[in-house]
């Protein structure tokens, strides 16, 4: 099943299961992204609400419905629309449980079906802003594969806290078998896609596929373990520590801006807490807006060549001391 279809199946299964669950967003009935297509016909128009272009309002609307007992998925057409809703997500929904001493819960999923770059969309449509939400302590999910997308979306919907769920644009066309029966991938559990003993490569989102391809390419030379966090917040530090315990080396491959990004968090936590034999490395975006021209865009995004160089470098580095 295609990743995108898996998202649709997750929504459909959960809407069938929980009659209170509803979807809001722009054009969610016609569904430009295809994910919410048919849901209005299947579950009724009052379960799939097309909203005026008012992101702050409809984000807060979901909070209000959640406070009144509903679960909600809020779709955003572009990752940068989360900036408009940032106050409502990070400063309202996320904080309400604490601020009310545990009275309130806000089980809302902030859903971007197609985050990150998709060649040619330029600076305002290509951001991958998950690190901002992780910084705010908001649960943040970024599945790399179709089955994980399914299981994590189900888990996110059932979760009692706000969850930011980004489906990387570059992962949408990928395929993976997805069981017919509903299942959950619990938030906070990583996945080792490929075992290896020379180096742990943490690859984030769609870059998992790229890292796996590189692991194949380098198989004769280097044994790469490919670690997919799946959930960025909370992060599966235990699984990572176990992996690094085996490999002693770490490279992070991350399609977010470099500074204060998820890769920084992973490197920092590993440097503090895990037994590294050599200095770790990040391969990330630079902190630049994505330029329009495709040549420039590709130069601004992290690449497989950069990853290969970083992996080789880290593996060859002397044990430090």
């Amino acid at each position: 099943m295609r990743y995108q279809q898996a998202l649709g199946k997750a929504l459909r299964d959960e809407m069938a299961r929980d009659p209170g669950l509803f979807v809001v967003g722009e054009d969610v009935r016609e569904s430009l992204r295809g994910v919410t297509k048919g849901l209005a016909e299947e579950f009724g128009a009052n379960r799939v609400l097309d909203m005026p272009i008012s992101e702050q309002m409809f984000t807060g609307f979901a909070t209000g419905a959640a406070l009144a007992g509903r679960r909600c998925v809020v779709e955003y057409q572009i990752p940068s629309l989360l900036y408009l809703a940032f106050e409502q997500i990070a400063n309202q929904a996320q904080k309400l449980h604490l601020m009310t001493g545990g009275q309130a819960k806000v089980p809302v999923v902030y859903f971007v079906p197609g985050s990150g770059a998709r060649l040619g969309l330029a600076a305002q449509h290509s951001d991958h802003p998950y690190s901002l939400f992780a910084h705010a302590g908001v649960k943040t999910v970024l599945p790399a594969t179709a089955a994980d997308a399914y299981g994590l979306l189900v888990a996110s919907i059932r979760d009692d806290d706000p969850v930011v769920f980004l489906a990387p644009a570059a992962a949408l066309p990928t395929r993976e078998e997805v069981p017919d029966e509903p299942f959950v991938v619990p938030l906070g559990s990583g996945r080792i896609h490929r075992e290896g003993h020379d180096v742990t490569v943490v690859a984030v989102g769609h870059l998992v596929h790229d890292a796996l391809a590189l692991a194949d390419e380098l198989a004769d030379e280097i044994s790469m373990e490919v670690f997919d966090p799946r959930t960025l917040y909370p992060f599966d530090w235990e699984l990572l520590a176990a992996s690094i315990g085996r490999t002693g080396r770490l490279v992070v491959y991350d399609d977010a801006n470099r500074t204060c990004g998820l890769a920084a968090e992973i490197i920092a936590t590993a440097a503090e807490e895990m037994p590294l034999l050599a200095p770790p490395k990040r391969v990330t975006r630079a902190d630049v807006p994505i330029p329009f021209a495709v040549e420039l865009e590709l130069a601004a995004l992290p690449s497989r060549e950069q990853l290969a160089a970083a992996v080789r470098h880290v593996v060859r580095e002397e044990v430090r001391g």
């Binding site: 005026p52 309002m57 409502q88 309400l96």
Partner: protein, 320 residues
């Protein structure tokens, strides 16, 4: 009824006055925004609401929360940051809430609670529960974009929302004349919703208007906008007392004080009734302060409790 309205207003007034004393005595941390002068608005609006109806409140929220029926003892405990506070000491003045009474919380961000009211109102329609949602905001809040976005949706979907603008003439130091083009009533009316100006110093007028709005809302006739003209007798917040700010004249304050809703409504009650209520209120608030002071202080080891509804525990800021 008048006696009950007076009792509520008196409770708010004296609650606020005690709060100021406790802030000055450093028993309450931070700042609070006094509701003194505006009591008729919260009191009139909430008197038109039922227990299950929803309100969203503001930084200046004590009046709304009291009028909606919250236990003043647990409110006071909250302001003192105690474990028996409505929010277990986690929220304080700007986040005080009681979901059992539909009080979706004060809010530290101007107008940010407005869309919560729309979401709750929509849910009420879906559930056919008959619940209506009132959202309070100031003249300053009326200029926030999110409020317009919410008015549009509420009008478009005919949601049972009551937009209660407490126009006290100022957003901190900025007068309404310097903040607001045109007319708030006309803005609301342009969305196709019922909109009226109300004398916010007259609790009966507010109650009347609110009843009309609630009726329309419950009848499926959509939202109403009430611009309640009122005044705050003191500074923007408790900290303003030590600042020398000259944005309002003494004359202006004095002339509004003549319309003090407690005086006006109190006069109508007769001295004996009024005195009895005042005494009751004093006793209640004595109890509230006592209750709050007796309540335990939170244990620092619990600082990471209640962060996630799912029970997730955050990591510490230092690795172990």
């Amino acid at each position: 009824m008048t006696a009950e309205l007076y009792r509520t207003m008196r409770t708010i007034r004296r609650f606020e006055e005690r709060v100021v004393d406790l802030v000055n005595a450093n028993e309450i941390a931070g700042v609070t925004h006094e509701y003194v002068g505006q009591e008729a608005v919260a009191t009139g609006v909430c008197a038109a609401l039922q227990r299950d109806d929803v309100i969203t409140s503001t930084h200046r929220g004590h009046g709304h929360v009291i009028a909606k029926g919250a236990d003043v003892r647990r409110m006071m405990a909250e302001l003192l940051g105690r474990v028996d506070g409505l929010n277990r000491g986690r929220g304080g003045s700007m986040h005080i809430a009681d979901f059992a009474l539909g009080i979706y919380g004060a809010n530290g961000i101007v107008a940010a609670g407005a869309p919560f009211a729309a979401g709750a109102a929509w849910t009420a329609v879906q559930d056919a529960s008959g619940v209506v949602a009132a959202t309070f905001f100031g003249d300053g809040g009326a200029n926030q974009g999110i409020l317009h976005e919410t008015m549009n949706l509420a009008a478009l979907w005919r949601l049972p929302v009551i937009f209660v603008c407490e126009n006290n003439g100022y957003a901190v130091t900025l007068s309404q004349a310097r903040s607001t083009a045109g007319s708030l009533i006309e803005r609301a009316a342009a969305y196709g919703m019922a909109a009226e100006a109300v004398d916010g110093m007259d609790v009966d007028a507010v109650l009347d208007a609110a009843r009309g709005a609630v009726e329309r809302a419950r009848a499926g006739e959509g939202p109403t906008f009430l611009e309640c003209r009122t005044y705050r007798f003191f500074g923007h917040h408790t900290a303003e007392r030590t600042m020398k700010l000259g944005y309002r004249t003494d004359d202006e304050i004095a002339s509004w004080r003549e319309r003090d809703p407690l005086l006006v409504t109190g006069r109508g009650l007769g001295e004996a009734v009024r005195a009895q209520i005042d005494e009751d209120v004093e006793q209640l608030l004595d109890e509230a302060v006592e209750f709050a002071r007796q309540s335990g202080r939170p244990d620092p080891v619990d600082a990471f409790d209640h962060v996630y509804a799912s029970g997730l525990r955050p990591r510490s800021g230092v690795a172990s």
